[in-house]
């Protein structure tokens, strides 16, 4: 009987060992690859996801908004259907107030003043433009903030992912966002001041995502009968091109001009200018309006409206108002550099 036993050669053994090692390395690489690929932009991807979810999802909920020690509970209804995007916010505490946004038109109902303020957001105006909203551009955030994942947590009974957004300099504030892991919706946000103090907090206490929402629920409540109210609808036209009247001698690092418009709020006063600068997250508005001759001289200096800071100064016969959710020093830096261009 011829029994033959095949003994693996030394080279064959080496090949098998090499194959095994390669297989293990491959498996290891396969396991680590997704995390490694996501790590650099992981926080940014969460921000993108939150922005998309906020625009694409239909949801209703109750949230608490707090600025300083004042807190208010509001009800939000946001729907997206074939007709477009619509949103209604109804303040449940204190005086009645509502905001209704249908696509690019925002209406603020202020019953105490019997006033409805209407702002039309142009399709071309603003950043990101409406047509590109589906892929919201967070350009500039990476240069101006560090964005990283924090610990998971629970908000309004939902598992959420904390995203830490920290400023790279003192010209902007930090933020913390909690994003619902399942839907991607922002369920809690804190704006953090330069001393680490919370400036503004937004937290859902109850949230229902999806389901059918009737368009009728977007209409302002019957108590907002604005038939005999004062309607304030400023006339605004895009004016991205510099009209040559003003020059900005100082700029805010990381902020770029994203829109410009001519605005007229009163028929008897010439139009003023409104520019918006953004660093990808925070926004600063600059208004330059001619002073009303008969009116009292406006106060100037540094102000705060909740988490929005304001810097006002007078330049010749014009009032300059610089405002945004950035530190006062940033507003001054931009506002003090504005000069009338010599003709």
């Amino acid at each position: 009987m011829n029994l033959s036993i095949t003994v693996p050669s030394r080279r064959s053994q080496q090949r098998r060992l090499l194959f095994l090692a390669l297989a293990m390395l491959s498996a290891l690489w396969g396991m680590t690859r997704p995390a490694a690929a996501q790590m650099p932009d992981d926080g940014m991807q969460w921000l993108q996801r939150a922005a998309r979810a906020a625009q694409n999802l239909t949801y209703t909920g109750t949230f608490v908004y707090r600025s300083g020690t004042v807190a208010e509970t509001s009800r939000i209804t946001h729907l997206v259907d074939a007709a477009g995007e619509a949103e209604r916010i109804e303040v449940l505490d204190g005086s009645l107030r509502e905001v209704v946004r249908i696509d690019d038109e925002v209406k603020c109902y202020l019953p105490e003043n019997r006033t409805v303020v209407v702002e039309q957001r142009s399709a071309q105006r603003g950043f990101p433009a409406r047509q590109s909203i589906k892929s919201v551009n967070f350009g500039g955030i990476g240069e101006n903030y560090t964005v990283r994942k924090g610990a998971p947590g629970r908000v309004a009974g939902m598992e959420s992912q904390l995203i830490l957004i920290e400023p790279r300099d003192s010209l902007r504030y930090g933020q913390r966002w909690w994003i619902d892991i399942q839907s991607g919706l922002l369920v809690k946000a804190i704006l953090i001041g330069d001393q680490g103090e919370p400036l503004e907090t937004f937290t859902f206490s109850e949230l229902r995502i999806g389901g059918s929402v009737d368009r009728a629920s977007i209409k302002p409540s019957g108590r907002m009968n604005a038939s005999n109210w004062l309607v304030r609808k400023p006339y605004a036209v895009d004016s991205r091109q510099d009209d040559g009247m003003w020059q900005f001698r100082t700029s805010l690092p990381g902020f770029h001009k994203v829109s410009g418009m001519k605005r007229q709020t009163r028929a008897d006063v010439p139009p003023g200018s409104h520019w918006i600068f953004s660093d990808g997250l925070a926004a600063v508005s600059v208004f330059i309006d001619p002073l009303i001759v008969q009116a009292e001289k406006p106060e100037t200096g540094l102000f705060a409206m909740g988490a929005v800071n304001v810097y006002k100064r007078i330049l010749g016969d014009n009032l300059i108002v610089v405002m945004g959710d950035v530190p006062h020093a940033a507003l001054r830096q931009l506002g003090d550099g504005i000069e009338a261009r010599r003709k």
Binding site: V70, S278, F303, H328
Partner: protein, 190 residues
């Protein structure tokens, strides 16, 4: 809360602190955490606010504000050395108490300033000074800072224009639009 994932045990301790249920060394621990963790401070504020709401303390009186501010401006700075306490426990307790007192004073100051910001809708934080950091904020400054009613409507419209046209990438999910009415309207009465 937050970095611990929800309110969690630290949140419970903050709640216990608010209720005065902790002993001295527990107070020291949680106060140290409060100093480092902004979310815990948010929780602390929440508990204080809930407590105030339960006690129906919905607003601070302007007289109290004026008294606090006047008191702060008139408070002399004591430079004499403090007497040394003998026991370690007493020292630890004193430190905890001092930290808490400092926090309470800060919180009161913030509360007062924030309340004034909302009650007058817009507060001139430093009307005449160009140096934010060095400007002493005393009773006189804040009293002078109250904005004239005529200017409110103007600033409201500026704020609405800013919020309505600001980039949509700002705080999605309704936070942008809530400023339109929460900050710009309806808070005059507070």
């Amino acid at each position: 809360m937050g970095s611990k994932g929800g309110f969690g045990s630290m949140g419970t301790e903050v709640s216990a602190l608010a209720d005065g249920e902790l002993n001295a060394h527990e107070v020291a621990d949680i106060v140290a955490s409060l100093r480092q963790d902004v979310e815990l401070r948010v929780a602390w504020n929440d508990y204080q606010m809930i407590g105030a709401a339960l006690r129906r303390e919905t607003r601070l009186s302007q007289e109290l504000t004026a008294r606090v501010m006047t008191g702060l401006s008139l408070e002399p700075v004591v430079l004499s050395p403090q007497p040394r306490l003998q026991s370690k426990q007493a020292v630890a307790w004193q430190r905890s108490l001092m930290t808490l007192t400092t926090m309470a004073a800060s919180a009161a100051g913030v509360a007062v300033v924030a309340w004034m910001a909302f009650s007058s809708q817009m507060v001139n934080r430093s009307p005449a000074s160009s140096e934010l950091a060095q400007a002493p904020v005393g009773a006189a400054n804040l009293a002078e800072a109250a904005i004239k009613p005529g200017a409110r409507e103007d600033m409201r419209e500026y704020l609405i224009a800013h919020q309505a046209h600001a980039p949509i990438s700002q705080m999605p999910g309704g936070t942008q639009n809530i400023r339109l009415v929460s900050v710009s309207g309806g808070l005059d009465r507070r």
